[in-house]
């Protein structure tokens, strides 16, 4: 207990000293987020410093073992770090599919050589990763993927096409699901492999979305050579690792239903737009009712995330809870943005122009529509709850 209090005091002092003032406010746009990589794009010197200082301590991946460059913190210490960062509204120093997704999978399933090769550069923000999962014919039915890896002794030759690969055009490495046994039942013939995006035969093409942005790509793989040393775990066991990664992804996406620290509450945004009446109530009774119903659900949802995390730590966890959190969190986020644009009215329909931050709100609203599609659709989450929790069908 005493040690944790010391840790808190030290952490607070270190953050005071090392977190630049401009990194103590929420990210407002994509460029405010730091993704690292071989060709990192820093919006400011502060952003670079903040990432490097945190990476130096391993605090970009606080709970990873120090031998792989991580912070080596206990769960309690990591919680204190989060709390202390939240206290000063410190921004995430590094956003990374390496930290969120492939890193945890390597820690659980990867060989010692793969961990040593890949984890330290992830912590330092030197290598940016992308996820080669979905294919044009394999969306919700992910296990139906067709990208083929043919065994050539010490390496595979991979051919196929991936889609919805987030930031593939900016990524350095890819963790990719491929079919290594076309004759096995579809879940049993899949492997998880890693390759450098600079390998000959890898091509990416950004997809323009309804929001106007292009965060996703099509990725074409033509005779791509992948060394056997870059196979994660065992051949044909990839579906197990993929499911583990999907659970992580669901947990990450469900977090979108929560309001980030430092962000205005929805009702404050609505109050700015709609005004308050003489009694101090939102000056539109129907909007007030809708906001209140959302607000109730959002608060109950935040308590539920907290409760499920606490129960998991106390060993009382319910499996498949991440499907419930993903389902509810993403639907909440969509409702949040529907209410935000309703409150802003015509202002929220402005697509370009300085007065409206280049249409930031309608673009963000449109982006939320993907929340209930990516990482397993709402319908897939409901299937998982029905089958794995309720025992139906």
């Amino acid at each position: 207990m005493f040690d944790l209090e010391d840790f808190r005091a030290d952490t607070r002092a270190w953050l005071e000293e090392n977190c630049p003032a401009s990194m103590r406010e929420p990210a407002r746009e994509d460029a405010d987020r730091c993704w690292g990589g071989r060709n990192p794009q820093f919006k400011s010197e502060d952003q670079r410093l903040w990432m490097e200082r945190m990476a130096e301590r391993g605090w970009t991946a606080p709970e990873w073992p120090t031998e792989y460059g991580g912070g080596g913190l206990s769960k309690e210490q990591a919680k204190i770090l989060r709390e202390e960062m939240g206290r000063i509204h410190a921004r995430s120093p590094l956003d990374s599919f390496g930290i969120w997704m492939i890193g945890p999978a390597l820690l659980k399933y990867g060989s010692e050589a793969l961990k040593k090769q890949h984890l330290p550069p992830i912590v330092r923000g030197e290598i940016r990763w992308c996820q080669g999962y979905s294919e044009p014919g394999a969306g919700s039915d992910l296990a139906g993927l067709q990208t083929r890896a043919i065994d050539h002794g010490d390496h595979y030759i991979v051919n196929g096409q991936k889609i919805w690969t987030s930031y593939a055009n900016k990524a350095d490495w890819c963790f990719c699901l491929v079919r290594t046994d076309p004759d096995a039942k579809k879940q049993l013939g899949i492997s998880l492999v890693l390759f450098d995006m600079a390998t000959p035969g890898v091509e990416t093409r950004p997809i323009k979305l309804i929001s106007g942005a292009s965060p996703f790509c099509e990725t074409f793989l033509t005779d791509v050579r992948v060394e056997k040393s870059q196979l994660v775990g065992e051949e044909n066991k990839g579906w197990t690792y993929a499911k583990y990664l999907l659970t992580h992804e669901r947990e990450m996406i469900s977090g979108m239903g929560r309001t980030a620290s430092g962000d205005k509450a929805l009702w404050e945004l609505v109050a700015d737009a709609a005004g308050m009446d003489a009694d101090g109530k939102l000056d539109d009774p129907m909007l007030r009712t809708d906001v209140a119903r959302w607000d109730l659900d959002a608060m109950a949802f935040a308590l539920t995330s907290e409760r499920i995390n606490a129960e998991a730590k106390a060993g009382q966890g319910v499996g498949a809870a991440s499907a419930m959190l993903k389902y509810y969190g993403t639907e909440l986020n969509k409702r949040r943005y529907e209410l935000a644009i309703a409150a802003e009215g015509a202002d929220a329909m402005v697509w370009e122009g300085q007065a409206h931050k280049g249409g930031a709100l309608p673009r963000a609203w449109l982006r939320t529509k993907a929340n209930s599609i990516e990482g397993g659709t709402t319908e897939v989450q409901l299937n998982i709850i029905s089958k794995n929790i309720l025992g139906l069908g």
């Binding site: 209140a292 009382q316 509810y328 309720l390 139906l392």
Partner: protein, 372 residues
């Protein structure tokens, strides 16, 4: 932050409360008292056993003969009662009455009343509502000083267990316009009690006061503050009951669709039913968290208690409506029969949701407390 995980003691209590309610006060006990047109509307023998289990005195401080278990613990008993639709004085006496006497009563009144409640020998009721929808600010009942006490004039409705209570706590307005709490004895002069059997086969009463003698419960000036806390406590425990009711209605419905066959297959294999069931599962998970947060906040004396109580009641009421509506729809025709229990769950869900403020009342209050 409020505690959201049950410790081992709480889990043991939950098990024993669930076993007790399932053994002694299951749904068929509700059917029995309903069909027998029981004068009390509950079994006094079962209440004596509940007192022996410590449930009657769960919220009574140990110095007054209770178990002093706190709100999270009592909420588990209410949840178990909700699962089994158990008819008993648990809510009116052990939650509302006890809280009013504990928070507002003088030391002498507490010493007089609480030990007997804990022993199961004295029943209480709280008379607040004067309008058909919960509107606690509307108090037209008048308390006029008379000798050492007061006389009451006015009427209250929807008083749970008002027909059997030995002591009734009544909110009334004093000549200076302040709202205080007053204690009336059953059988007092000028007290007319009209029992109303409700849709859930439980009892509420209309009470008419025609110059009824009463004494102040503690200090009259502190009554309004105490009443506000009592109403929060009551709403939190009704939320716990609604949680138990929703869980049981949901589990019975899932079990039913997992055995009922149509078109040669189990209807639970239909995605249209699966997705509705999965959505309901998620909503009930939210209710669990909100109820636990409200009860924990009460135990901790958190300043966020009113907000969390309104969150819990609004959400529990909304989801109990959904769980029972879906329950009947998914049971199909048999859900409309008196023989199946699912209809009884719907018939308890509505009055429990309305009592002390429905979803709309608490959503409005939540918004106001949030600052909009």
């Amino acid at each position: 932050m409020v505690n959201l995980v049950l410790d081992d003691d709480a889990r043991m209590l939950k098990d024993s409360a669930e076993r007790f309610m399932a053994d002694k006060l299951p749904v068929k006990e509700l059917r029995r008292v309903r069909d027998a047109e029981d004068a009390d509307g509950f079994s006094r023998d079962a209440w004596a056993e509940m007192a022996a289990m410590g449930f009657a005195g769960a919220l009574i401080p140990e110095e007054f003969g209770g178990a002093g278990m706190g709100h999270v613990a009592m909420g588990l008993v209410m949840e178990a009662a909700g699962r089994n639709l158990s008819p008993s004085p648990l809510f009116a006496t052990a939650v509302l009455g006890v809280s009013a006497v504990t928070l507002a009563g003088s030391e002498a009144q507490k010493a007089d009343i609480l030990p007997r409640v804990a022993e199961g020998k004295l029943l209480l009721a709280l008379a607040v509502d004067e309008f058909r929808r919960h509107r606690p600010s509307q108090v037209d009942t008048e308390a006029t000083p008379a000798g050492d006490g007061y006389t009451l004039r006015g009427a209250k409705l929807n008083v749970a267990d008002g027909h059997v209570a030995d002591r009734i706590v009544v909110s009334a307005k004093t000549p200076d316009g302040a709202v205080g709490l007053f204690l009336v004895e059953s059988g007092a002069a000028g007290l007319e009690v009209e029992r109303t059997v409700m849709v859930d086969s439980r009892n509420a009463a209309i009470l008419r006061f025609e110059g009824t003698p009463a004494v102040a419960l503690g200090d009259v000036g502190a009554g309004a503050g105490a009443l506000a806390q009592v109403l929060d406590i009551g709403a939190a425990h009704l939320s716990a009951e609604l949680l138990g009711l929703s869980l049981e209605a949901f589990e019975r419905t899932v079990a039913y669709i997992n055995e009922r066959k149509q078109f040669g297959v189990i209807i639970g294999t239909f995605q249209s039913l699966q997705h509705r069931a999965a959505h309901l599962f998620a909503e009930i998970e939210l209710v669990k968290s909100a109820v636990l947060a409200a009860l924990s906040a009460l135990d901790e004396g958190s300043e966020r208690t009113p907000l969390l109580v309104s969150l819990a009641k609004a959400k529990a009421a909304q989801v109990a409506d959904l769980a029972t509506n879906e329950g009947i729809q998914m049971h199909g025709g048999v859900g409309m029969t008196d023989e199946y229990d699912i209809g009884l769950y719907m018939k308890r869900a509505r009055p429990a949701a309305q009592m002390l403020g429905d979803e709309r009342f608490h959503t409005d209050r939540f918004a106001t407390l949030r600052g909009y």
